[in-house]
């Protein structure tokens, strides 16, 4: 007897073509990781395991590669962004789900339009309104970690709102009516049922938003001030891994000693993103 094969004959061409497509994507993905690792290796070959890496002084042309200011800057602006954006996004989601049943579809469309606003537009807006406002209120220059974080918060708001709406939308009407029929107030239904049921999807949404904020370059670069300093207060200027990459690709072109520190910074970002992907995978497993 002939063995049963999964694919009928005549399908081999299509199968091979799409298989090749999938393989190419995988290879490109691995190539990116490999290039960054290779760059990092070259960095280590050129400069050894430089003790300055853990320091705060960053002068790549003088063998000083303290990356701490950038890592701290990235973490601070991302924290500000998620802390500011999450309550607002939840507000939008609760309003759309619980308060305005009919207009829901329209608001979703508006939000998915807002998701597509280019990040430089947020940067422009940060420069023309946010930075002057902070300057006016604080008397400092205004270019600051705070400005970077707030620009990011506004930038991730549409995405985070949409994801939160989708998370809350999975809560069945039957549960909501069951809760109300037991004499729960709308607030109690929200807190003890809706938010409790959707906490895992909301966590996943937040991780995705953090990923987007951590990877953003342009909008932050425009308002953060671009100073290599350990953050000492929200109003101080700073830099992040991404903004420093943007600044340094032109200042440290290949061939200049210290160029490969950029590959190392990019590798850190890649590892962070991979960590988030794995984390989202985990949260999905919890929610099952």
């Amino acid at each position: 007897m002939k063995p049963v094969t999964g694919r009928p004959r005549g399908d081999h061409l299509l199968y091979r073509v799409v298989w090749l497509g999938a393989l190419l994507l995988l290879m490109l993905g691995f190539a990116i990781a490999a290039i960054l690792v290779w760059g990092t290796v070259k960095f280590v070959i050129d400069h050894g395991l430089n003790p300055s890496l853990l320091g705060t002084i960053y002068q790549p042309t003088h063998d000083q590669f303290g990356l701490l200011p950038f890592i701290a800057g990235s973490l601070v602006v991302t924290m500000i962004a998620i802390v500011v954006a999450l309550p607002l996004a939840l507000s939008v989601a609760v309003t759309v789900i619980a308060t305005l049943p009919r207009q829901m579809q329209m608001i979703r469309q508006i939000l998915s339009g807002l998701v597509a606003i280019p990040s430089v537009v947020f940067g422009w807006w940060g420069l023309s309104l946010l930075v002057p406002s902070i300057r006016w209120i604080s008397g400092r220059p205004g270019f600051s970690l705070l400005a970077g974080g707030l620009v990011l918060a506004i930038m991730i708001l549409p995405t985070l709102s949409l994801l939160s709406i989708n998370a809350l939308d999975r809560v069945s009407v039957r549960w909501v009516e069951g809760s109300l029929a037991l004499g729960a107030t709308p607030d109690q239904t929200l807190g003890r049922l809706i938010l409790s049921v959707s906490r895992i999807p909301l966590l996943e949404a937040s991780i995705l938003a953090v990923g987007r904020a951590l990877g953003e370059t342009m909008a932050v670069q425009m308002v953060i001030g671009g100073r290599v300093l350990l953050p000492h207060g929200l109003l101080s200027p700073g830099a992040t891994l991404t903004t420093q990459l943007l600044t340094d690709i032109s200042l440290l072109p290949p061939g200049i000693p210290g160029h490969y520190v950029l590959d190392f910074m990019a590798l850190l970002l890649l590892v962070a993103m991979y960590g988030m992907v794995v984390l989202v995978e985990r949260t999905r497993r919890w929610s099952l």
Binding site: P101, R102, S172, R174, W175, E177, G178, S179, L180, A181, L182, G183, A184, T185, Q188, R192, L193, S196, V197
Partner: protein, 254 residues
């Protein structure tokens, strides 16, 4: 409300959703502690009637109602009726089991916790007595921490009844509680309803005429938003007054 299961009096109740009339000029009386079965073709307004009694109907869009509904002395259509208190007094069980995605225990304890009961000892005794009343205790004892979704459909439906009973209501609304269940589970729910009769006023929407005949004291037949006939169940099923009712009961309807 006093300790006796409350009486229900409905006078000239009309409900419309926008332009669509769901109930028009319905009047009926029900003595406390009895089982009222609502029968009629789909879309006849029986579910709307049920959702009026705990004002869940307020959630529907563009809903308007008039008339008077008095349940155990409370005029439940008054605009300033306390909906939270009303819904605690009037429990409801839905067609699809609506067990929350929590554990069995947390499902039953949900209502008491809303009322601010924190003591784990009291919660446990409420959960146990409610599950016993719902004839589910023997099947779930020792499994209280399991997710409710791991129970069978019939068990989930009884869990929903236990959950409703845990708030100590005086009235229980049942919206086709056995429509999604197998015959064995249906029998269990029917036995449960009979055991609750007397302590609670029960109002049951059902598509299953035999079920109405088996477990109700009074049957009301609705058609296109009108209450066609209401009578003690035995009378209704043996000698209906209206020709329309007879047609429906004998299956010659539409």
């Amino acid at each position: 409300m006093d300790s006796k299961a409350p009486d229900l009096a409905v006078r000239h109740l009309s409900v419309r959703y926008g332009e669509q009339v769901a109930l028009s000029d319905v009047s009926l009386d029900l003595e406390g502690g009895q089982v009222l079965a609502l029968i009629g073709p789909s879309g006849c307004g029986k579910s709307t009637f049920l959702r009026v009694l705990n004002r869940l109907v307020d959630r529907s869009l563009e809903v308007r109602y008039e008339g008077e509904v008095v349940l155990g002395g409370i005029r439940i259509l008054d605009p300033d009726t306390d909906l939270v208190a009303l819904r605690r007094a009037v429990g409801m069980v839905f067609q699809q089991p609506s067990a929350f995605p929590f554990s069995v225990f947390d499902n039953v304890a949900y209502g008491p916790r809303l009322q601010g009961i924190r003591s784990s000892h009291r919660l446990r005794s409420i959960v146990e007595s409610s599950l016993k009343k719902a004839a589910l205790w023997d099947e779930v004892r020792g499994k209280l921490r399991r997710p409710a979704a791991s129970l069978s459909g019939g068990q989930q439906q009884r869990l929903c009844i236990a959950r409703a009973l845990a708030v100590a209501p005086r009235v229980l609304l049942l919206d086709e509680p056995t429509a999604a269940l197998d015959p064995l589970s249906t029998t269990k729910i029917e036995e449960l309803i009979l055991s609750l009769r007397g302590d609670y006023t029960l109002i049951l929407v059902t598509h299953n005429l035999q079920q109405a005949a088996r477990i109700s004291d009074v049957t009301a037949f609705f058609r296109q938003g009108l209450l066609v006939e209401i009578a003690p169940t035995r009378e209704m099923f043996t000698a209906p007054k209206c020709a329309e009712t007879e047609e429906f009961l004998t299956g010659r309807y539409e």
